[in-house]
């Protein structure tokens, strides 16, 4: 690997930019490819840039055959992120579970009595209002957003911000009735139906979960399903 390629790869990874290192296994030629933009793709078959994008979305390194020989696409995605709105009981289970599954977890709750280090040891906490917190976090394709407060003042701004982002998973806790009212409010706020359908509500796979920890399992399972099956 050339030192210039290596240094750029390391810079991208530090900056948390999703990047693919493409390597022609016959000629040794190499380049870095990104989700957007044609930078790096010059001189490479169009097919390579497209396959690189698919590999990033699937988070799976792979080799493709081209006219110039086999090209290995090594995927370097930044860590998954999960933004949890509400420092509630379920969050106390969800945060450590999601961390085990590879997520950088942040819990957002302006109510300081809820979001405390004692209740959330080792978890990144934000006391900002959800709209400010979401603007700061800037959810991307590798981000899951979960709202758990049941309080429209806190959940709604976070959901609106999530809908305007590329977040791969948006889950909102609440009964079917609560969720219907929530969708009505977001509809009034101008979100079209196909965007509202991105919200999983009530959040979580239907596995009969009852305890906070079981509900956390169902939410993490649903996020995993969205993450791993969307590109399949």
């Amino acid at each position: 690997m050339q030192s210039t390629t290596f240094e750029q790869l390391q810079a991208d990874r530090t900056a948390k930019v999703p990047v693919v290192l493409a390597k022609n296994l016959r000629t040794g030629a190499e380049t870095l490819l990104y989700l957007q933009g044609k930078k790096g793709a010059r001189g490479w078959p169009h097919q390579v840039a497209e396959a690189a994008r698919a590999a990033l979305l699937a988070d799976r390194s792979t080799t493709i055959e081209t006219a110039e020989g086999p090209v290995f696409l090594n995927v370097f995605n930044p860590p998954l992120r999960m933004i949890v709105i509400g420092a509630v009981h379920i969050s106390q289970s969800l945060a450590p579970m999601a961390a085990l599954a590879g997520y950088d977890v942040s819990v957002v709750d302006p109510r300081r009595a809820f979001a405390t280090g004692e209740r959330f040891p080792g978890v990144h906490l934000s006391h900002a209002w959800p709209d400010e917190a979401m603007a700061a976090f800037a959810p991307d394709l590798r981000t899951a957003v979960v709202t758990l407060t049941h309080d429209p003042k806190l959940d709604d701004p976070a959901l609106a911000a999530a809908l305007r982002s590329d977040a791969f998973y948006i889950g909102a806790l609440g009964s079917i009735r609560t969720h219907a009212r929530r969708l009505d409010r977001l509809r009034t706020a101008g979100f079209p139906e196909h965007e509202l359908s991105r919200i999983q509500g009530p959040a979580g796979l239907d596995i009969g979960a009852r305890s906070p920890a079981e509900i956390a399992v169902s939410i993490l399972a649903q996020a995993t399903e969205r993450l791993r099956k969307r590109a399949a």
Binding site: M1, D59, N74, V75, P79
Partner: protein, 108 residues
Amino acid sequence: MTSAQNPDVLQQAGQWRREGRGVAIATVVTTWGSAPRPVGSQLAITEDGAFVGSVSGGCIEGAVVQEAVDTIHDGKPRMLDFGVTDDQAWEVGLACGGKIQVYVERLD
């Protein structure tokens, strides 16, 4: 999955390189069957045989390190094939019965 294990491997490779040591990087490029580490897993190796990371559960690292040292000296990338065959099953085969292909290149 690339995100979890690679940072330290490449960081260490860069650190070694800055210290002026010869470095090679080995990457799993293909797997068949129940290979122990996914495609994209990496190992960084120095010319004196130090290494970080993994390309298997420990079954083939020794063999990869030897080839990597040669790659550091002659600069030629190598493609290594590992799998369970009769004559190498107890040498550098994979206990899990899988097969993997490892690409070794020098970090210039």
